[in-house]
Symmetry: C3
């Protein structure tokens, strides 16, 4: 008779090169899509309308890419971050085959780096997680690193290995869905006349709208993604925790910011890369999330003139309108209102 | 580089005859239906059971008509009522082709009337909005009027045009779904033995049940409909607004009242017309909604004896049971508990 | 003109042998499954993944059995327990044909016992409720008993009939889904290496995780199941009720406990029987639910060596971690933290 519950992995459990098969493959459905719309007010047309998606060459409306992200990410939590103190960063995230309702997603992670902290109590673990569909096609491949507790301070430190992480995903690594076309792309139905040609590097956009966070909403989202991190769900322990309340899953804020970004980036119909991202501060029920974006880079795609890419920084702030584009103060520290600083790359039709 | 965010339209932007194509066509799914059931406890059998619906001649369970309404209405918000001060009324609403899961809905509006207010700061805009499915079949055609801010008080007033609006949709304008039949209609499964024959004009029905409103619920509903009106979502600004809190989308109350009306109108399987409606007072999270109905009229349908129509007034009240049928007081003013006074027409099987 | 609203049944209405056809047949969909995942964080793989389910011999992912239970149970509420004072117990519950998205469920109940209480104001009613799918195959057959108000104290008491209820469903009454197999069962994907062989009668498992209850969540769940009991929904009356707040549907706690039990019972892929159950104390929004389980019995299945059965007691407690396995105190009274004591039988693959 052994202990039947999963205690999660500790720093010592993450040996370099270790492969983890995560539990609970997940068939994603139209029900998940409806919930995503209902949780964030998602309005991008390719993900909202089968008709619109087919006009673009998709077989039907694909899942929004960050919903795909959450489905792939959620599975990693019980094995990677159950004993994590902090989710430190993301890099090198590439979206692959679009996910359609009916597809089944599962995730595997590989330990690509370990670095014990000087206090001997914690360490940083770098993992590469790959989500695949039922045809074993990659749907998302990304790196993240987390700070994890050691089981025992007296255990010897492993050799430090810090992987070489790209600042941004390179153009040649973007995976453009096969067969997509901008012919017949209808900017009236899409909600904005502004196409790739109209954006400039350095341009800042205030997304104007805002959304107040509720406990029921963020828990519903996080459960939908089968993300099990305790801090999101257990008020009985969190009341005595660092903040006295449940901490909202950072991915909930990413999806909210992306949904708010429709007002200004309506034609950014696809995320191709996650370059990096930082959950600058925690969010809680009752906070109202605003967002703004900056065009960091504007890229032509190799040998195609129908779509272009924009590297975007989307910043989410709480309880502060974003017409002043809050980011970092002069001392390099983040404005205290900022909760998310996210760097990703989207596709947009060209004229 | 232009402003990329949608500022919404102001009174001056609504010129008579102007046509607006609203963004984000929407494929409605079984997921939306489940959420609707979960939001309101909707229990009418034709919309709950494919088997029951097929017995009646539908190809499967169609969407509840007010869910169809919200899907069509939601799209109009960013263009019609983003700068609205008040949603003043509805008229001449006809439901057309039933919407089934998998159908894609989009909406177009035409400005049919404008009337500047005497203060020169606001005006009333009348629009006719038409929702169609992917076959370009009309699913809903209705008029509403809203009070909208002017951009600039000094702009000259347009010529006043107030459209002629019917007090009620005429019998000959009802669209009865093709092929429906009352043969095999099972009143046990439907939940009530009372058919069209059993109702009388003037009859009042207390729907008895009640439902308390929650912030997460009304925001979830309103986001599902992709309705973007800021007052429903942003506590950060609303705390300093007129009521100090978020205002619930009026349509949420319509759907709640319709769902409560099952207890007394269980065989009212289809809404054919919206004759008029007034959101008498705002509702907020924490309010408990009760409802009662009055049969305003009882109509035979031309050349068919299997179904009849009932014109219904459903009144929703907050924090007050409806056994006293609260409506207007002797001075003609609404009882302060009333939040909704809604006039619509339903179909019901005959004996 | 008659009263159109359903007043529910009183004790006198339940005559022995009476059969009740419950309203609103319900087509269950992928949308319902997504909501269930989002409400409870359900992670069992056979219900989460069509691919995993097919490997086991299901045609696709079936509905989790307790979701099936709620769908069948919900229909009985308007007729059986609208005037109930207490839901006293369950027994003899057998799950039959798996329910798949697209199936339509309806429920019929038969009165199998009546016993008036000595005060003449109330009585206990025993019903056997049977849910069937669109092919008239039984999906769930169970007994429950409730305490119901009498309409009139002066009405004579019926002859007392108390049905003989089994303490536990017998092995020969388990219905094993046709064609299921443990070949290719993947314990990595399932989330635990512990199979039937590894469990012992008497073994206790702390499920560790916990979930805080929200008003929006429990009402959403209860509405999804079309359960109409007023105490769950009406804060306006409940504020003056026994607890001053809405009481959470007991079944919501069953599903939460079952979902938490994944951490320790991940391979319990199917519930075959409900042996008994008691809602020991009410739960409210704000409570945090923990759970633990005890293996009450370990059973081989007749003529098959691929799966075995475990009779499980799952106990849910509020605002108290379950590492101490809270249950009854020495005086035989329940620990005040306990809200649910549930006895059911699951299937698990063998080595």
């Amino acid at each position: 008779m052994s202990i039947k519950t999963n205690p999660g992995n500790y720093f010592e459990d993450f040996t370099l090169g270790k492969k983890i098969i995560h539990a609970t493959p997940r068939t994603v459905t139209e029900g998940d899509v409806s919930l995503y719309t209902a949780l964030y007010g998602f309005r991008f047309p390719a993900q909202s309308s089968d008709e619109f998606a087919r006009t673009m060459g998709f077989s039907r409306a694909p899942l929004e890419d960050f919903l795909a992200f959450h489905m792939v990410f959620g599975k990693t939590v019980p094995d990677v971050s159950l004993n994590a103190i902090a989710n430190l960063g993301y890099a090198g995230g590439c979206f692959g085959a679009p996910i359609y309702p009916g597809d089944t997603v599962k995730t595997t992670s590989t330990v690509i780096g370990v670095k014990e902290n000087s206090d001997g109590k914690t360490g940083t673990v770098y993992v590469r997680s790959v989500g695949v569909n039922q045809h074993d096609e990659m749907v998302l491949d990304y790196r993240r690193w987390v700070m994890v507790r050691k089981k025992d301070k007296t255990n010897p430190a492993p050799e430090t290995v810090v992987p070489d992480l790209p600042k941004a995903v390179a153009i040649e690594d973007f995976i453009i869905p096969e067969g997509i076309t901008n012919k017949g792309y209808d900017t009236d139905l899409a909600g904005s006349p502004h196409l790739w040609d109209d954006y400039k590097a350095g341009e800042k956009i205030d997304h104007v709208d805002a959304m107040t966070l509720e406990e029921a909403d963020h828990m519903t989202a996080t459960r939908l993604y089968q993300n099990t991190a305790k801090v999101h769900f257990n008020q009985h322990t969190e009341k005595d925790g660092r903040f006295g309340k449940r901490i909202i899953y950072g991915g909930h804020i990413i999806s909210m910011a992306r949904s708010l970004s429709f007002n200004g980036l309506a034609n950014a119909f696809k995320v191709v890369a996650i370059n990096g991202g930082r959950h600058v501060a925690p969010s809680f029920a009752g906070d109202t999330i605003y967002a703004w974006s900056e065009v960091l880079d504007k890229m032509e795609l190799p040998s195609r003139s129908d779509f272009g890419a924009l590297r975007i920084r989307t910043v989410a702030a709480k309880d502060q309108a974003c017409d002043g584009f809050p980011h970092k103060n002069e001392d390099g520290k983040y404005n205290p209102a900022v909760v998310l600083d996210f760097d990703y790359t989207v596709l947009m039709p060209r004229r």
